[in-house]
């Protein structure tokens, strides 16, 4: 188990790993493969992960984090936490949801990294460099995928591919059981739901469409049960403290699981000194959870529509995720599709096994299969007035590439702002903001003259890069996309090296170079304009020359603020200059004409 690439299912409730060996998929630690995705932070010493963390949570729930996947890559404006009571303290910090552990902030990426590191150390020991394929819900957006990748990086893992969980599940079944045709994968986990349609032809697994819900899963069943138990006593979830909530949650999970093979379950819940009896039959439980399953079927309907398929076109239905064990889920699905359900592989481990299969496909150990994925959400750019132009459409096969041409809006504009969005809605505010970037150093020219080609590329991991190039001048300006809801590259580096100082220096260095280049561009353009335009008054030219001189001087030094200030001054002054040039040109036109003649001219 030294150099194998492993597959990791980094789940909302459980995490597990698998690998491909001797022509077979193997789960790590098969007797007990599921590691709870829980991390505890004791006051001293290393963080605890998994069962140990669960144990620790009983005495210190405030410093124990679970369901971290729910807020991976979520910006402070994109997460509604109203309905999710976490015992730990979750707050927006520096544009991200982060957990406050005593006196420090811990990002979702770091928490996930603790889980990943724990999993990898159990398999490989501390020495070996690890390569892994990590799975994410198909419905994850670019920022969430990037956050997952960053978590791997922080954990010291080389992430060779991010793949969608439902696709992984189908791969795990392999070519022995999957026939050519259209496959539906229904994945109901603890916290997220995904539904995907795949077309399989001669070993090529092609994703046709995918739909899902990042806030739907078995946890909802638990919460519905918890609320119902309390309601019978006239109580609600908000009356309970963290410790009682934790205990009630554990009991609700037990009831749910036991009802999968028993018809009736009875439990006692001790709330301080009150005993509450919880008695459920399968029917009474089914009534509580049916609305959630109906919502999942709505996603199925939409995925079918997107793929242009009907229910009768589906040849096989694969079940994934622990919650697909719930009998009502199976009954409602079988009824909906009218097909036999595939569940011969344990739905808890099937995704990790598929990830290991994909790892071996990339590593050339298995040659007769190929996975072709799609991008789950459309990608576009903000347009004037808060609208969105879609560049790559939802469910487009990846890798994908598309480009769009843009131009400048005002005369002598030297920069264009781009705002990259992900989602299906028409307005910017309704979509996910993925990144913002600026294309600088456009040579000054009249509005509409610049031709900026913006290239969108989604690689085989579903991760997006965008490049912009001004074509008329032949000048290429590269841009880097920093996910606005992920950690910036600097941030990731900071965590890895745990040296804030170095990252700060790097960042300043980048800023210094950017400021200097901006200054050079502007100074050159200004000098050129001055040389060509004799209209300007001597004192104005002198003033501008002095600003150029000042800016030249500050560019010699390393004081970023000074350069930026000089840049600002010169920019302001040259804008006035541009206006003057325009009015001088108008003066030329109207010279020697009467007011009457001019107004006639205007009117024509």
């Amino acid at each position: 188990m030294k150099n194998k690439v492993i597959g990791i299912d980094l789940g909302t409730t459980h995490t597990l790993a698998s690998y491909y060996e001797d022509g077979e998929l193997k789960v790590f630690n098969p007797e007990d493969p599921l590691i709870p995705s829980v991390v505890s932070y004791p006051p001293d010493g290393e963080p605890l992960v998994g069962r140990e963390a669960m144990e620790y949570a009983k005495k210190d729930p405030e410093n124990t984090v679970f369901s971290v996947k729910r807020f991976m890559g979520k910006g402070d404006d994109s997460l509604d936490l109203q309905n999710h009571r976490f015992p730990f303290s979750l707050h927006p910090h520096q544009g991200l949801w982060q957990v406050r552990i005593r006196d420090r902030w811990v990002s979702p990426q770091e928490i996930s990294a603790h889980i990943l590191r724990h999993v990898v150390h159990r398999i490989k020991g501390e020495e070996n460099e690890t390569q892994a394929v990590i799975t994410v819900p198909a419905y994850f957006n670019g920022a969430q995928r990037q956050a997952t990748r960053d978590a791997g990086k922080i954990a010291g893992i080389k992430v060779i591919r991010i793949i969608n969980e439902p696709t992984a599940a189908a791969l795990a079944y392999g070519l022995h059981e999957i026939k050519s045709g259209t496959i539906a994968v229904y994945d109901l986990g603890g916290g997220t739901f995904d539904f995907s349609l795949l077309k399989v032809t001669n070993g090529v697994f092609r994703v046709l469409s995918t739909h899902g819900n990042t806030f739907l899963g078995g946890d909802d069943f638990d919460e519905a049960l918890m609320a119902d138990i309390l309601e019978k006593k006239g109580l609600s979830l908000c009356h309970l403290n963290h410790k009682n909530l934790h205990n009630l949650r554990c009991m609700a999970k037990e009831i749910k699981e036991e009802l999968s093979d028993q018809h009736k379950v009875e439990k006692m819940f001790q709330l301080e000194d009150v005993h509450i009896k919880a008695e459920y039959t399968r029917e009474s439980f089914d009534r509580l959870i049916a609305p959630f399953i109906k919502r999942s079927l709505e996603s199925c309907r939409r995925a079918l529509k997107d793929a242009g398929k009907r229910k009768k076109d589906i040849t096989q239905v694969i079940l994934v995720g622990g919650s697909s064990r719930v009998p009502l889920v199976r009954t409602m699905l079988a009824e909906y599709f009218g097909k036999e359900l595939f569940c011969s592989i344990n739905p808890d481990v099937v995704v990790a096994m598929g990830a290991a299969m994909q790892a071996s496909l990339i590593e050339d150990q298995v040659q007769d299969m190929l996975l072709m994925d799609v991008t789950p959400l459309s990608i576009g750019l903000e347009t004037v007035g808060g609208g969105v132009t879609k560049i790559i459409m939802r469910n487009a096969p990846i890798p994908a590439q598309a480009s769009e041409k843009f131009t400048t809006y005002v005369d002598n504009q030297t920069a264009i702002d781009f705002h990259i969005l992900q989602g299906e809605r028409e307005l910017v505010e309704d979509n996910i903001s993925l990144a913002k970037f600026k294309l600088r150093h456009i040579p000054p020219m009249a509005a509409g003259m610049a031709v900026v080609n913006v290239d969108f590329r989604i690689d085989a991991d579903g991760i997006l890069t965008v490049q912009a190039k001004e074509e008329r001048s032949g000048q290429e300006a590269a841009v880097e996309v920093v996910p606005s809801h992920g950690l910036s590259m600097e941030h990731v580096r900071t965590i890895i090296t745990e040296s804030i100082l170095h990252a700060r220096e790097d960042f300043d260095h980048v800023r210094l170079i950017a400021a200097r280049t901006d200054a050079q561009t502007l100074m050159m353009a200004t000098k050129k304009t001055l040389a060509q335009n004799p209209h300007l008054a001597g004192d104005e030219i002198e003033m501008i020359h002095s600003y150029v001189k000042d800016l030249e001087d500050s560019c010699q030094g390393k004081d970023i603020a000074a350069i930026e200030e000089g840049l600002d001054k010169l920019n302001r002054e040259t804008t006035i200059l541009a206006e003057k040039m325009v009015s001088n040109a108008v003066l030329d036109m109207v010279k020697g004409k009467t007011l009457e003649e001019i107004s006639k001219q205007d009117g024509s």
């Binding site: 032809t201 092609r206 050339d364 096969p397 990846i398 994908a400």
Partner: protein, 176 residues
């Protein structure tokens, strides 16, 4: 470029000789080695799509990742283009167009009046979608037949193709 006559193996070799920068300039018919008309055998296209992707995908081209990524992206894009009838017709028109350009917005005679009435009926909730579909099929058939002729009536082709977009929009309303 007689790409249509190449066997699949040779076809891939031919693609391999095309520089990365030019892959997106290649028209979608040549890319899959298909003859240039609208009467597309969708099964044949799907077969070629899968065969090509199996060879072109970055996972199968370790030593030439960047080229493989661009080629696969182009194959994906061209496949989507060909599978959609209107986009396929637009791609075909770009190949034969000698003077009209894609910005030409002319419509078949009497068509706009028809669309106007349909729109009104749709707002009243009594639009007969079969009638719209019938018109769509008529246009579609015309475009396919025209595309096989040695001399395409470009003016009529452009107008009917412009009309398709209106009809598609109307038919999409039915799903809402």
């Amino acid at each position: 470029m007689a790409a249509g006559h190449h066997s699949q193996f040779n076809h891939m070799d031919w693609l391999k000789g095309i520089p990365k920068e030019e892959l997106f300039l290649l028209n979608c018919f040549d890319l899959f080695g298909l003859s240039k008309h609208l009467n597309l055998d969708e099964d044949l296209l799907e077969n070629r799509y899968i065969q090509l992707t199996q060879k072109a995908h970055p996972d199968r081209n370790k030593e030439n990742q960047d080229w493989a990524m661009v080629l696969t992206a182009r194959i994906n894009q061209a496949y989507e283009e060909l599978m959609d009838f209107r986009l396929r017709a637009e791609a075909f028109f770009r190949l034969i167009d000698s003077h009209m350009g894609t910005n030409n917005k002319t419509m078949p005679e009497g068509f706009l009046q028809k669309v106007f009435i349909w729109n009104e009926r749709q707002e009243e909730g009594n639009l007969d979608f079969d009638e719209v579909e019938e018109c769509y099929d008529e246009f579609r058939l015309f475009l396919i037949n025209e595309s096989i002729k040695p001399e395409v009536d470009q003016k009529e082709f452009r107008m009917k193709l412009n009309g398709l977009k209106y009809l598609e929009n109307l038919m999409n309303e039915e799903d809402v």
